[in-house]
Symmetry: C2
Subunit: 343 residues, 2 copies
DNA sequence: CGGATTTACTAAAGCGATCTAGTAAACGGT
DNA sequence: ACCGTTTACTAGATCGCTTTAGTAAATCCG
């Protein structure tokens, strides 16, 4: 019982009594075969559970029916893990409708990410590429253009004309919503424990806070590497200063949980002595005590939209404009309240 | 500035003044070229940043250099999300050493998972398949055998001879460790809030608890769908009974956090009134207040081992025996202590 | 020193699809 | 009835690599 050798297009052609070319035409909905013959061929294909070899297809430069997603993930600082899973689920769900699959690759830095992109392109393994985490002065856009590849960027603002189109979450609006909510509660000293400075959304959010100085809000932005250890240290120092903030906003839920604990250890209960909020929601944010106020976003849908934009480019072959993704909403929970000292 | 056409092995051969065959020999460390020529060829390859097209390679070698992982993920109840991410990172890290990539597919149930396996096999898209979450009476093993595919199972015990080999975590030992730890603290009424009954590890862990009846431990196993809502409800009912448990063990960290909160709401502080522990660790388990005692496992390494086992099968072509994965260790934290009424 | 072996290569045949160019038969219009 | 067009196919080149068979030169050995 040796493993039967692969069924090829030639075998199918023989069974149908036609040439391999005809089978190819039938398969790809191309003219050149009569409807009758096409049906016959397709049913033989069906019976034999045959599918064309993707390697051979890729070689002739046909469509690979695959899109690539190389995720630069230094350490394990991808922020919320749930974000990642939901995003992939969203992307997948849209792709699988079109019988396109996702090639996932985890890389350590942007250099490696671009290297992977090059390989994918040069061997025709993917029809399109998904990018995430835009940076100021992002080298990837140019590379994508040089590779003449289709791509989408999941980002914080619409891409400039001619660049890689993006599905974007208006991070300045998101920041506006959360900071204003705290301001409305009466907070005037707000700290923002952010991620790395080179990430676009960090800068956008920080700018919003800075701008609120006009409304009498004194903001304080501290960048971190997303690690809970840094978040704890930062929180400790914030809360031991003389002019300590009455509200602290974290870039993600893990850091918020870390901060919450430090506050409790220092005898500062949330929300009585300090309000805590996060820019990233998760199941756990709603389960712990006190539950954490957060901006909730439909990550699944974000993934779907990105996939849709990419597929349209691949199929229609035209460069589409950027599109705004789902708008995050505020989920107010127990960790925020008016400041104790507020009038 | 139209996109330059691909550099091929023929171009490299021309530059080196040899035939394409010679380049191939040099590249793959095969005899047939002198060391001197080999060096010359390799440095030209280097200079031109050339890499062989994997499509062409796959076509001739019949190897796809890809392994597939179809993840059945009904709803969004994959337990801990961190587990999933770490596992993939581990698998990836091992695969990428061998220039093999991961094809990830999210499916809704086992039937769809098996359908995806069939497609992958029949079109030679993957060289091997990764399976996870073994069930009692798992239909997948037989299917894999019928497809004549290489595979690994990430599971709870060694696979029977001849079946899909597994990398296994001895879940009975894990359960033994955690339950014994609680028993040693003096707990005699222990509840176990488990996952779905059809999952192998649920059954194995429950059996361990049952067996401890001999040592005077009264165990109580409640199965759930992994949702925090169920975990909360179960915890509430456990703690309002007359003979309430002095320790509750959850199958994952999300449920443990949910349970912890319910306990607090009912005025039962952990660990004073009830001890809480989880079979799954996470960053957050160590950050919340009180931090949660959990079994820590090296999920990254588990992924690496699974990938290694699979690659060996693919390359060597032999069926290897199952191997034991990294042993989880107990991480005792604040949520467990001797019961108040003890001794 | 001459025949057998080894070394270092080249030429060319695949691998399994797609796709262009070519052909025979059917059709259509006058 | 004749010529031009359309239809339904086939033949064969092609993609970029691996690999086998073949060959000329260098090396070995008794």
């Amino acid at each position: 019982m040796t493993s039967a050798k692969r069924v090829t297009i030639a075998d199918i052609a023989r069974m149908a009594g036609v040439s391999p070319g005809a089978v190819s035409f039938a398969l790809n909905g191309r003219p050149g075969v009569s409807d009758e013959t096409r049906q016959r061929i397709l049913s033989i294909v069906e019976e034999n559970h045959w599918q064309p070899s993707s390697a051979a297809r890729a070689l002739v430069g046909a469509r690979a029916n695959t899109v690539g997603f190389a995720l630069a993930r230094p350490a394990r600082s991808l922020g919320s893990e749930a974000f990642f899973t939901d995003l992939i689920a969203g992307i997948e769900s849209r792709l699988s409708e079109s019988k396109v699959s996702l090639q996932l690759r985890l890389v350590t830095d942007i250099a490696e990410e671009m290297e992977v992109h090059r390989q994918w392109r040069s061997s025709n393994q993917v029809d399109g590429i998904i990018l995430i985490d835009p940076r100021d002065d992002d080298p990837r856009s140019d590379r994508i253009a040089a590779l003449d590849a289709r791509a989408v960027l999941i980002g914080s603002k619409p891409s400039p004309e001619g660049a890689v189109p993006s599905v974007w979450i208006a991070d300045d609006e998101v920041a506006e919503t959360l900071f204003s909510y705290l301001a409305a509660l009466g907070h005037t000293r707000i700290a923002y424990v952010a991620g790395p400075a080179e990430l676009e959304h960090t800068r956008l959010r920080a700018e919003v806070l800075d701008r609120m100085a006009a409304d009498g809000i004194s903001g304080d932005v501290i960048t971190t590497d997303f690690s809970p250890a840094r978040a704890s240290a930062v929180t400790r120092s914030l809360l031991s200063g003389r002019l300590r903030p009455t509200a602290i906003v974290y870039d993600n839920d893990v850091m918020a949980v870390a901060g919450l604990r430090v506050a409790q250890e220092m005898g500062r209960a949330a929300p009585r002595d300090v309000s805590i909020a996060s820019f990233d929601d998760s199941v756990i944010a709603g389960l712990i005590n006190p539950s954490i106020t957060a901006m909730t976003r439909d990550t699944f849908e974000l993934g779907e939209q990105a996939a849709t934009l990419l597929l349209q480019q691949i199929v229609a072959g035209i460069n589409l404009p950027s599109a705004q993704g789902p708008t995050p909403t505020l989920t107010a929970r127990e960790s925020t309240a008016p400041p104790a000292a507020a009038s």
